[in-house]
């Protein structure tokens, strides 16, 4: 009751007298969420920065009593060809599967689905969405089977007299990129489907009357009108793909060797396969920083929504 009265006086323009403790009382409901996020979200982030400055090992003496080694892990990281290889693979993975693959295929699907009959639209969009709703590890197994040497893909290629490569061994990156497109296109398709349905048809119709061709209407009118959805979607798919672990881990295990180890996979391998927790943490920290930069850009894009 008191707070309502105070709020009303605030609306009238008279400054309410601040009662001590009122703000604290109002903030109390935030406490459980803030406590959880401080311990289990901010905690690991800070731990990540700290741990990357130690030589912690997985087992043995250095697991219990890690030494502070300063920036040693980072200097080792920068001199490590394996790390740079993982950086390149991560850029390839994110660029090819998310930025190009999911976005282009998602947009194409959204456009095609608008121009077809209802049964076909419902069937295809359901299939694409099921691939996305399935638990990630199930999707990974299905794709592992699909790309296996004796798997479905090579079987189909065999019908056309082609001999497919041993996908997961000779071209592991191509396999995981295609797999991630299969897995994640639904999200882009839905975002673009929603965006396209909000473009008023009279604008494109007016352009058509003025003699604009189909591609002209799409690139000059539709695309600029939904550019906010495009930038949002690009950022979100990039951030999601940057964090992909399960798909790659199940399909190739990062291998052969480290030929498909993106940064999250490499961090895991260093920490749990080679028992260098400090070094793995440094890789995780770098990935986190890359993600943080992308997040900041994304928040700038979304800024008007908070204000």
């Amino acid at each position: 009751m008191t707070s309502a009265v105070l709020d009303r006086s605030a609306a009238r323009g008279t400054r309410p007298r601040r009662r001590p403790g009122r703000t604290a009382l109002r903030l109390a409901p935030l406490a459980p969420a803030v406590a959880l996020m401080l311990v289990f979200l901010a905690g690991p982030v800070l731990w990540s920065f700290y741990g990357s400055l130690t030589n912690q090992a997985l087992t043995g003496y250095r697991a219990a009593a890690p030494e502070f080694v300063g920036l040693d892990n980072y200097t080792a990281l920068l001199a490590d060809d394996g790390f740079w290889k993982a950086v390149v693979l991560t850029v390839v993975f994110v660029g090819a599967s998310a930025v190009i693959g999911q976005n282009v295929l998602g947009m194409a699907l959204a456009l095609l689905l608008r121009a077809t009959s209802k049964p076909l639209r419902a069937t295809v969009s359901t299939l694409v969405v099921v691939a996305w709703v399935l638990p990630e590890i199930v999707a990974a197994f299905a794709l592992y089977a699909f790309f296996s040497t004796d798997g479905t893909l090579n079987q189909v290629l065999g019908w056309f007299g082609l001999e497919g490569p041993t996908w997961l061994i000779s071209v592991p990156m191509l396999a995981v990129v295609l797999a991630n497109i299969w897995r994640g296109t639904a999200f882009s398709m839905m975002v673009y489907g929603a965006a396209l349905s909000e473009v008023p048809p009279d604008v494109t119709e007016a352009a058509a009357i003025d003699g604009a061709t189909g591609p002209q209407r799409f690139f000059r009118i539709t695309l600029p009108m939904i550019r906010r959805s495009i930038s949002t979607n690009l950022m979100l798919t990039t951030l999601q793909t940057l964090a992909v672990f399960t798909l790659i881990w199940v399909m190739t295990g990062g291998g052969p060797g480290t030929d498909s180890s993106t940064l999250p996979v490499l961090a895991y391998q260093e920490a749990f396969k080679f028992a260098q927790v400090g070094y793995g943490t440094a890789i995780a920290t770098v990935t986190l920083l890359v993600g943080a930069v992308f997040s900041l850009v994304y928040i700038r894009v979304l800024k008007p929504e908070v204000d």
Binding site: L27, P29, L30, P32, A33, V34, V39, F40, L41, P44, V45, G51, S52, L109, A110, L112, R114, A115, T116, R121, V124, S125, T126, L127, V128, A131, V133, L134, P135, I137, A139, F141, A142, A145, F146, S148, Q155, V156, M190, A194, S197, P201, M235, L236, L239, Q240, L242, A243, V250, P264, A267, G280, A284, L288, G291, A292, L296, I299, L302, V306
Partner: protein, 307 residues
């Protein structure tokens, strides 16, 4: 990183332009453009059928292999249908315990997250506070961070806290990682509940917490259901977090149990693997359909991204 929200499956549907208007126009105007448009439609349908098939085949493998007594990695119609794959795995150790653990972990995570985010969303939605905006920006930033990249430092932190192989610890961590998105969604849902109803409750002498529980929460029940299912599904499908944090079979959820299926036996029993995949996937598919029901399409999207 999480998928942003649970957007509707058939977002492209419902626009009258594609499906209904066009055939009628063709009937009225037997113009020279008609045959070209028909070829266009055939091409669109052909492209969609092709894309649909590439999405269908890996999914079909799961279903067909689960019914095949001699399943391999390639998709084929079984020579004889059998339910043996299912009956063989329906034991406490193989199937029911992992599924029960999954239920416990995902349910615990979802309950904890929803409670904390409803409480946290209330002051964020209702009061003008100095640090509301910085807090919301931090939350938004938290939704973007590539959490899986952090699993190595999380492991190190859990060693320090002595919480390895603890189900409550895993629940706390999963809840903390889903909180930013859950708070964001809940706040947007809560914003759409008019304040005037609470003012009535305040006049009647209710405190802010009573107003929240008796007035606001009942009014945003569908929104809460969407957040609950969203968090539950994320936790259910999460493989990497329990894979790193839980190692005794007594605690492992289905996502990890399925992986041991694949790794530990000499030859992989693909039929049983596929059967287990189906049992494990059905709950999230059902929940996804439920969200569609609850949210009636674009509502879910608006909760997360607000337009």
């Amino acid at each position: 990183m999480t998928a942003l929200s649970v957007p509707p499956a058939d977002v492209t549907g419902g626009s009258p332009t594609a499906a209904t208007r066009r055939p009628r126009r063709e009937r009225h105007l037997p113009s020279v453009a008609a045959p070209r448009r028909r070829t266009g439609r055939v091409l669109v349908a052909a492209a969609l059928v092709l894309i649909g098939l590439t999405f269908l085949v890996p999914l079909a493998w799961i279903v067909l292999a689960s019914l095949d007594p001699a399943a391999t990695v390639s998709v084929k119609v079984p020579e004889s249908l059998t339910l043996d794959n299912f009956t063989q795995i329906l034991t406490w150790e193989t199937t029911f315990r992992p599924l029960w653990n999954s239920t416990l972990i995902s349910g615990g995570t979802a309950v904890l997250t929803v409670l904390a985010s409803v409480l946290a969303a209330y002051p964020l939605s209702r009061y003008q506070m100095r640090f509301r905006k910085p807090f919301l920006y931090t939350i938004l930033f938290g939704t973007c961070l590539p959490i899986t990249a952090m699993m190595v430092p999380v492991y190190a932190l859990f060693v320090y806290l002595g919480m390895l192989d603890s189900v409550p610890g895993t629940i706390f961590f999963l809840a903390a990682t889903s909180l930013p998105m859950a708070i964001w969604m809940t706040k947007n849902f809560m914003d759409s509940v008019p304040v005037s109803l609470e003012e009535a409750a305040w006049v009647d002498g209710a405190g802010s917490m009573t107003a929240l529980m008796r007035v606001v929460v009942p009014l945003m029940r569908p929104g809460i259901a969407v957040v609950f299912i969203f968090v539950f599904t994320q936790a259910w499908g999460n493989f990497f977090v329990p894979f790193v944090l839980l190692f005794s079979p007594d605690n492992q959820p289905a996502a990890v149990a399925i992986y041991s299926f694949f790794g530990t036996y000499g030859t992989v029993a693909y039929g049983r693997l596929a059967a287990f995949s189906i049992l494990y996937s059905v709950p999230v598919l059902v929940l996804y359909l439920l969200v569609q029901r609850f949210s009636g399409g674009s509502f879910a999207m608006s909760g997360a991204v607000k337009g």
